[in-house]
Amino acid sequence: MTATSTASVIACRHVWKIFGSAAASVTALQDVSLEVLDGEFVTLVGASGCGKSTLLRTIAGLETHSAGEIEVDGEPVAGPGVDRAMVFQNYSLYPWLTVMGNIKFTRELAAHTRDRTSADVEAALGRAETLLRVMGLTAVARAYPNQLSGGMQQRVAIARALMSRPRILLMDEPFGALDAQTREVMHDLILHVSELEGCTVVFVTHDVEEAIYLGRRVVLMAPRPGRIDSLYEVPLPGRRTQDMKNESAFLRLKTQILERIRATSGIKTDLELLQKLSRRG
């Protein structure tokens, strides 16, 4: 809906992140610059250790950056904020609360309940009901998370993140632990919901197909040191359907990105080494 807007919501400029100190230091992010536009769905993909999760967590404010600037809506990031909601891979739900309790958890926090009027309370209740319906959770509203399948648990996590109408949804391999069929369902669901909510999404994954199917833009990161390698505009219409995965444009981009990941990940040199060893043996 906001595709025409060109204002950037997230701006990372020359961001560095160095873990540890001196001799034992690891450069997780090296001079990363990235702009994410309002309402955009951007996916971060790359081999393990490329810093994609670190970049996401730094934008979330869960990690501090060592140098550079990160701005959200023109304001420098100085910690987590309610404008940026995050969905984790797993174990983030509160098992002692029901599905409804989890979704309404933000209502327990002072950050969301200042100047509360009865109209606000009613609006929040309505919001929770709407999210339950949109995410297909109405039937399990009273269930506890550990009574649900992995896919249903992630639906709850997404609904909870959306409860306070965040501008930005940060997703850290949210479907990484789900089976392939459940994943496809979740892909269409998250595309639908993010469009409905009009929020900007930054989505981390190691699955190239997932990255292309979901993203308008795919950001490819490379490891050692973690950095942005290349950017790809996805040449598909805004509204995605599963059959697009068989289109030649989709497959071409997939091949191109996979080759680039192989080239940057160091797996290739490992393979060469393996061949050399087997020849010797």
Partner: protein, 246 residues
């Protein structure tokens, strides 16, 4: 079913060994002798008040240590600085044998009820602090970070995430340390006691009343089992979400 079998089988074995009669009763009295001793203890020697005073000492010592260990463990588990400050000391003290503190306890607290409670406190407190801290540290990081991204303050994270998240583990810790408190009972009642189950065992030793020693030990075991089951029941009632898997 199996649990009942696990208790009855050793009892049957015990009965069999004593019925064969090759072992002197001074060394191994039979189950019937012990049962008779429990009955006479109840009718002639005020078993009820022995149980009551021992129960009081154990619960008081254990509750006192829980009262301090729970908040302290929460702070050690939550704040790195508090951990660095207190954990080495706690680790150091917990290796010291509680029994060896008896002379000091007598010197500092005296020889009345406080001393017995003090011994049980020393025996359980230092372990309990470390277990509570560990329970707190086991709270999944994702639960805490999710709250942070939802704008929770530090206090809110402790109150609304860490505490409810580790409550079931804390109850288990309390259950386990209650068991330890009972094992320190006999030691505690070494200190100028003239009542209690532990005292009765020590006195029976002096008069070579093996059946009474057995009776005392078995009574402590039975009470322990009962307390343990009560804790498990509370666990099931208080944390339905843990016991209702799909």
């Amino acid at each position: 079913m199996l649990a009942a079998l696990g208790l009855l089988l050793p009892l049957a074995g015990w009965l069999a060994v004593t019925l064969i009669g090759t072992v002197d009763k001074v060394f191994l009295p039979g189950p019937t002798d012990v049962a008779r001793r429990v009955a006479s203890w109840f009718s002639d020697e005020d078993l009820v008040s022995d149980v009551r005073i021992s129960f009081y000492r154990v619960v008081a010592g254990w509750a006192l240590s829980a009262l301090i260990a729970l908040p302290l463990g929460l702070f050690i588990g939550t704040y790195r600085a508090v951990q660095a400050l207190l954990e080495p000391l706690t680790d150091f003290i917990r290796y010291m044998p509680a029994v060896a503190f008896i002379p000091l306890v007598m010197l500092w607290i005296g020889i009345d009820e406080g001393a017995k409670i003090g011994i049980i406190f020393i025996g359980t407190f230092f372990q309990m602090v470390l277990m509570v801290a560990e329970d707190v540290r086991r709270v999944p990081m994702a639960q805490i970070e999710a709250a942070q991204t939802m704008g929770a303050t530090r206090g809110e994270i402790i109150e609304k995430v860490i505490v409810p998240s580790c409550k079931p583990a804390l109850l288990d810790t309390l259950r386990i340390t209650m068991g330890w408190a009972w094992t320190y009972l006999v030691v505690a009642e070494l200190v100028a006691a003239n009542s209690g189950l532990g005292y009765a065992i020590i006195k029976a030793q002096r008069f070579l009343q093996t059946d009474k020693i057995f009776a005392g030990i078995i009574l402590i075991g039975a009470i322990g089992l009962l307390v343990d089951q009560t804790f498990r029941l509370i666990h099931r009632v208080a944390f339905p979400w843990m016991h209702s898997r799909a």
